[in-house]
Symmetry: C2
Subunit: 239 residues, 2 copies
């Protein structure tokens, strides 16, 4: 069967997955491109595929054939060829190395942080309740397929940090103040808190931190992009 | 005078500055927001301002009053309040520390690299001829006002590198191969070549490099975002 109508109920339901509300209700999300689809398949998260009629599928999964018009209706990509529907990932145990994101808003930044967290051996990313939705298509695109390779959980972060504080060294981040990243002592179990793009880390978290760190930089530059700052800190702590 | 018509010749000319072609012809570009406008003004690049009628301007510059509709027509911002027209910056002497960008395409990545280059004391960014336009609005937004704080030049990079090679240590970057960033010897005069998002550094540049460097990372992650990779390298070299 070839789906060609944007009014088809199945296509309308697929389109709904563009909104956080329906992703939450259905527990599913959309992934774009073969690379991510293969990752999702290998890890058991892939539910079905929507592809153009001439697509040859090697995977043991339901394929729905659609017109170009339907694919373009579902994704923001210029020349989409295949999309998949995946189940949301389960939350797992947190491990030793954590990144805690205090209300990150930009999907590109979250995607970048996911990618760099995998690169530098972070076990778990903890999203505060007001952070951008992990399953937003721009997050997934910027993460370059890394969303399936790291544990990502959503928490009310004040009680979360309070609970883990005894076991983990908690690094807070400030643009200035605290210890230079270049000189900090490495810890076996740690959590790094990174703040919101505009406001930085909430001062409500200050007294939960064991140590504040900053990145030395030229005074002409007030701050770094939060995805960049996180990546530099993770690079340094992974040495 | 209040400009309210999108058909007014002055507004139509302003709109043309959204395209690289007219930015090149007119030698001007659009900047958004007070922060950048102040930077441009202080450095002598600001030519005029377009603002809403109730805007109080402290700067000694021509202010054109426009309606909200006109501002929204010119910028992609949700709630624009002020934009400026600035002259393009002159190219200056290159200094000791260079970043060379081999066909960077994504404006957000270029903006990030500009911001991090200022943070980590790079003197000059060299854009290859096929790199994204510096004066693209997304580049300027992502650079967070840093475009005026660093020398940025456009060159045919093969002859450029050939010419400076005797004086500068040329670092090439590869995902793997070469020396780990953690272990490289710092050089007084250097140039780092960063490659295109999809293809990496062109192999045509290989024999112009004195040394290749890579960033150690978990094998699960194939590569980092080029803005992130550049920032980590610059952080390390600035130590």
């Amino acid at each position: 069967m070839l789906y060609s109508s944007l009014e088809n109920p199945k296509i309308k339901e697929l389109k709904k997955l563009k909104t956080k509300k329906y992703r939450d209700i259905l527990g599913k999300f959309i992934i774009e491109g073969e690379h991510l689809i293969n990752e999702a398949y290998n890890l058991g998260y892939l539910e079905e595929i929507y592809a153009l009629e001439d697509y040859q599928c090697d995977l043991d999964v339901k394929v729905n054939y659609v017109t170009k018009e339907v694919l373009k209706y579902i994704t923001d990509l210029e020349t989409p060829t295949i999309i998949g529907v995946a189940k949301k990932m389960e939350e797992k145990d947190i491990g030793d190395k954590l990144v805690i994101l205090d209300d990150i808003q930009d999907p590109g930044n979250l995607g970048t942080i996911i990618r760099s967290s995998v690169a530098f051996n972070i076990d778990t990313i903890v999203l505060s309740n007001n952070s951008v939705d992990l399953y937003n298509d721009k997050v997934i695109r910027a993460s370059q397929g890394m969303i399936f390779k790291i544990n990502i959980i959503r928490k009310d972060i004040i009680p979360f940090i309070s609970k883990v504080k005894n076991e983990y060294h908690i690094y807070g981040t400030k643009v200035n103040g605290g210890n230079s990243l270049k000189k900090i002592e490495k810890q076996k179990k740690f959590a790094i808190i990174m703040g919101n793009e505009g406001k930085g880390m909430s001062s409500d978290l200050d007294n939960l931190c064991d140590e504040f760190i900053y990145i030395d930089m030229n005074k002409e530059c007030e701050s770094l992009n939060v995805g960049v700052a996180t990546s530099i800190i993770l690079y340094e702590l992974d040495k």
